[in-house]
Subunit: 376 residues, 2 copies
């Protein structure tokens, strides 16, 4: 019962705030209140039933809160959390979801201390999940499942606040990772801000080519281009302050990146296949290592021949769900004309025997196969 | 009946060859034969029932073929297609799926001409679809649905070969885009080869950070990093020959890219929010233009009287391709004896004016007509 959080107040009804409200309702909170300074967003949040109650202002939202989450632009976090602290119970935990932590953590802590508002209950946070979509309509209560949620406690942070907040976030399905604020900002420069610049520069090259010689370049673009540029579609209004606010670390990451790019360029220019292969191979191995541990579990395929029977796929999926087997991927192998084909269900190897037994119990044939190699 | 392709022979039983065989069975071909020089791949293809018949060698596969597709590494294409031409009916269309088109097209055409094997029936091809999976088990008959399939006809290409092959590929669900071989190679340098280098350099930076300070950077990496580096995990053995073979265009694309990257770096370094916003916004708008068009677009016909001039269809098709006009359908209206007739090119209505202008610029007459209704 230690970990029960009776009341969560979310300030901000956008993608992240709305998703936090929904996640809190799904797991861990008895009551969820939401507010947004924009009345239209409040109306949309109400219509979407994102929270138990959508209220008009911060004091109303936080009056009985155990945890207050500010899911709003960085520049507004300190002001809103100080206002919340004035109106919330003195034991309420305060957190935020801003993309940079060093400056926000220092400012919130200093301002709470200056007003004797118990600064130790503030724990900076940053969920490493998102979407190129925006607004309350994009809210998704499963957004944080399996995602890392960085918390940035300092020496000033109360142990109990960190403990209870971590438990709440684990209830969202998130994996909590505690880092000092400075370290967080250095790491996101590499794995978040640098990719944004890299993707934007690539999309900008395509924009130049479109301007110079028409849209044919976009017609030729396949999945690789789409993936590599996806985040370039993100809202510039979000990214300008992030890149500016983390300027030193971003420039360092960019210079590191340009060095690697130049190494590849030199190998191509010299037609040095050995050097080129060395870099590409190092990168390929790195990318394969970057698979998070939870997803790096050995995978196998459950091979399920589907008879020509209505509902066979649904039966297979629900049998696996009832046996608590997570389905990592599903594909169909269409064998012969007229045949329903073969269903391939990718699962963690350590759940395969349980999954197979569940399928057999549901009257389906199933066997386990190693995953087909990525390389011929 | 014009568009029926009775027999398709596929050489190569990997992801692309297997998918072509399955797609041909689903739509457009009466009979599909497959071969692979590797007996183990042939056995797997047989077990997976990828084709009506899996045969042991190229002569056996192509003996009665109407279309021969070589879905094999670039270096082997010319040899295999010349061998196929020696054993296939003289009217059989020859095509390939190699990632670069300039050198392959020139070599195949020259070698077919040297042996008097009717070089006009060769049409280079490159389906802009793939998967991180490989091998016959990854074959998917729906892989090309909605994908662009570039064809690279030249002045030497027979109109009939281009016409029939386009119809077959549309039967796969692909959108056919005709481009000169050189132009294809320039464009893929930007939308395929450059993203590969960009992603590899980024993964390589992360590898350095892991080496220097541990795996925590992996835990912080979210969806943006994963998307932007996904293709870095690709097989270096595939990429070294592509980057080397398209060296000049790749270097040009890389230099263009570095210019854009430097522009962003300068804006960050100067803390120039206006300049930074301008670049990010331009990139975001470019990326958003990639969203596929609604499939219910209104269609019209471009009506192109073809003079009795070899290669007129290729000229029309490449002119439309260069203007990024997807050809949804092609038919011929044979007006008078002795006349080459009139070409009807079905295109989306919102691309018709652009397409007509491109045809006129290429020296062809063209006008736009509503699609003839089947029902009054």
């Amino acid at each position: 019962m230690d970990d029960v959080v009776p009341t969560v107040a979310v300030v901000g009804g956008g993608l992240i705030g709305g998703s936090i409200a929904l996640a809190a309702r799904r797991g861990g909170a008895a009551r969820v209140l939401l507010t947004d300074r924009d009345a239209a967003v409040r109306d949309r949040a109400r219509a979407l039933d994102l929270a138990d109650e959508v209220v008009d202002d911060v004091p109303g939202a936080v009056a009985a809160a155990d945890v207050v989450v500010a899911a709003i632009p960085s520049a507004a976090v300190a002001e809103v959390l100080v206002a919340a602290a004035r109106h919330a119970p003195r034991g309420a935990i305060l957190t935020d979801a801003a993309s940079l932590k060093r400056a926000v953590t220092a400012e919130v802590t200093a301002r709470l201390a200056a007003e004797d508002l118990a600064p130790g209950r503030y724990v900076g946070g940053h969920p490493m999940a998102g979407s190129e979509r925006n607004g309350p309509e994009a809210a998704d209560g499963t957004l944080f499942q399996g995602a890392t949620w960085v918390l940035t406690p300092t020496e000033a942070t109360d142990d109990a606040a960190l403990h209870r907040l971590s438990a709440l976030l684990r209830g969202f399905g998130a994996r909590v990772l505690a880092l000092p604020p400075d370290r967080h900002d250095e790491l996101v420069a590499i794995v978040s801000h640098l990719p944004q610049v890299v993707a934007s520069a690539l999309a900008d090259v395509a924009a130049d080519v479109v301007a110079a010689s028409g849209e044919v370049v976009l017609a030729v673009a396949g999945g690789g281009f789409r993936d590599t540029t996806r985040i370039a579609a993100s809202d510039p209004d979000l990214w300008v302050p992030i890149l500016s606010g983390n300027r030193t670390a971003v420039l360092e990451a960019l210079d590191h990146y340009r060095g690697r790019l130049d190494e590849i360029r030199a190998a191509v220019a010299a037609d040095d296949a050995v050097a080129l292969r060395r870099v590409l191979d190092r990168a390929a191995r790195a990318r394969r290592r970057l698979v998070p541990k939870a997803q790096a579990a050995e995978m196998v395929d459950l091979v399920v021949p589907l008879a020509d029977r209505p509902g066979a796929l649904a039966a297979a999926a629900t049998a696996l769900g009832a046996a608590a087997v997570n389905v990592e991927d599903v594909s169909m192998r269409h064998a012969e004309a007229g045949d329903r084909g073969v269903l391939l269900v990718r699962v963690a190897a350590d759940t395969a025997a349980r999954g197979r037994a569940a399928l057999v119990a549901a009257g389906l044939a199933a066997h386990v196969e190693p995953v087909a190699s990525d390389v011929d």
